[in-house]
Symmetry: C2
Subunit: 319 residues, 2 copies
């Protein structure tokens, strides 16, 4: 008889990640956890569905990494530090090689972010991974979307656009230059398969950023959500976008800008900072790309010229 | 254009349940919550997949109810009180009538259990509902599976077997008596569609029960897990099973016993109590059905005779 659900959980998911303040972890009806005093609890949840959030047949190791990464990114966007995760895994069949690779991808990222897997659920069905992460921030200091004010700088970590280009490469949707640099292609593919949640930057932005969001649905769309929540407009200058060298080399400048503005899957942080606090960003790998404005307009410019722009980010149900 | 993901979340999921200590709820990257002092956090997660955990085409109201109920049942089995939930909903298309009914089923149960929906995620894909509930128990008092000792009474709340019989009725798998009582049929169907998590019994068992588990995969199978975790055996007497009148009327005594032992989907609590503390159960709707024993055997008896019994509960991946 093949191993059942409970044996599989025991084999692959009992001992994942760091050791945290856990009285009861995987294996009971629920996890029993000791929240630190004086902190607020930050709770996030995100689902990845095969064929929607990653191509069918993606490496299991990458799926395990990404399922946790997208949630760590939400925790970072709140300025919080992660502590614990729960994993709800629905998969068509108990393929042990797949499970081993999935768990390894999840575990490596968990250890790197000092997070412990404390519970979960495994069921049969179409491949769907829901992870929920619990983290903490000092009372009243979590970063929200709603605090941007006109005049604030708009900033972004890292180099958005790489992941969307990487996905296009993985799906064979992008015509690549003849003699394309294999190292550049691999950088871009890995930026989709193994995104790096900005877990150091997020907590550093507490008391500095006026608002923050992570980029999952595309910079322009997610920045629009931040502006709506803050009841402000924004003006972004595409000439200031921090485009990576591999992205420009493989996609060309025009497509690179498009990937950066609309691509999604970056898991970078987009945030606003009052100009008076900009010095506090020293040493943080981020770039100012625009300003918060009065009114409600989302304006994309090239230097002084406003350019037409309508794409407002990925939406699962808008057609 | 039909409403998108964010408009749908805003319309159906922004204001569900009670008001709890929530600084930021639905609509940011994460929820910001204030855990009560001196309590341990109890975290649970469970997934329902269409065609696996409920028949395709089940009423959306029931799916919303059950997705929360199965998690409240886990919280109750830990002896904890629920506080907050996150909902990860994957559905094929944005059917607003479906969403309205789903949200209403979820919301009614949330209000009844003083729980607030504080966040979630909505994605396109095969119908899959993952709910995660956070609750609290006084430090060191959560109920676990591992505390049963030889001589303890084995007890169960409610009337197990009803839900499994109700599912068999809904799926047309059960030959019903001619002139079956429609009211009895309806009771059984509703016990599957609208299970009642034992949220009052769970916390009352703190300091009374030596071990506790909720019955999701079948009384015999879940009791086996409790016994394994406690490193004990159990002996259950089928003549003591609290079978409901509708279950016996519709299924007959023999099938009723089988449903009660192996059926699953009951969301009753199965727990053990030292005989010296049995008086503390006064007023709780529960029944003693056996004893914890030395050794590791799971024995099912009819009075003094041991009966053959092998089914060890539902397992998603054992065949």
């Amino acid at each position: 008889m093949p191993p059942g659900e409970f044996a599989l959980i025991d084999r692959y998911f009992r001992d994942i990640g760091a050791r945290r303040d856990v009285r009861v972890g995987v294996g009971d009806d629920g996890a029993v956890l000791a929240p630190p005093a004086g902190q607020e609890l930050v709770a996030v949840v995100d689902t990845l569905v095969e064929g929607v959030h990653f191509p069918a047949g993606s490496p299991a190791n990458s799926i395990g990494h990404r399922a946790l990464a997208v949630n760590l990114s939400d925790i970072a966007a709140m300025g919080a530090a992660p502590a614990w995760a729960l994993l709800a895994l629905t998969l068509p069949r108990a393929d042990e090689r797949w499970l081993e690779a999935f768990a390894a991808g999840f575990a490596a990222l968990a250890r790197a972010h000092d997070l412990q897997l404390v519970g979960g659920d495994m069921t049969a069905g179409p491949l769907t991974v829901t992870v929920q992460v619990l983290g903490f921030a000092p009372r009243g200091e979590a970063l929200l979307r709603g605090g941007a004010r006109p005049g604030d700088l708009v900033c972004v970590t890292g180099t958005p656009g790489d992941a969307a280009c990487g996905l296009a490469l993985l799906q064979g949707r992008l015509r690549t230059p003849a003699m394309a640099d294999e190292a550049a292609l691999e950088v871009l593919r890995r930026r989709f398969l193994y995104p790096t949640p900005r877990s150091t930057a997020g907590p550093r932005l507490r008391g500095v950023a006026s608002a923050c969001i992570d980029i999952s649905d595309g910079l322009a769309g997610d920045l629009t959500k931040l502006a709506r929540a803050s009841d402000c407009g924004v003006r972004v200058d595409v000439t200031q976008l921090p485009l990576s060298a591999p992205l420009i080399a493989i996609a060309g400048r025009a497509a690179a800008e498009h990937f950066a503005l609309t691509g999604g899957d970056d898991y970078e942080l987009c945030f606003t900072v009052p100009a008076a606090r900009a010095a506090a960003l020293a040493g943080l790998a981020c770039t100012a790309i625009g300003r918060v404005t009065e009114g409600r307009d989302i304006t994309v410019c090239r230097g002084d010229s406003v350019i037409e722009f309508s794409h407002s980010g990925f939406d699962h149900f808008a057609r």
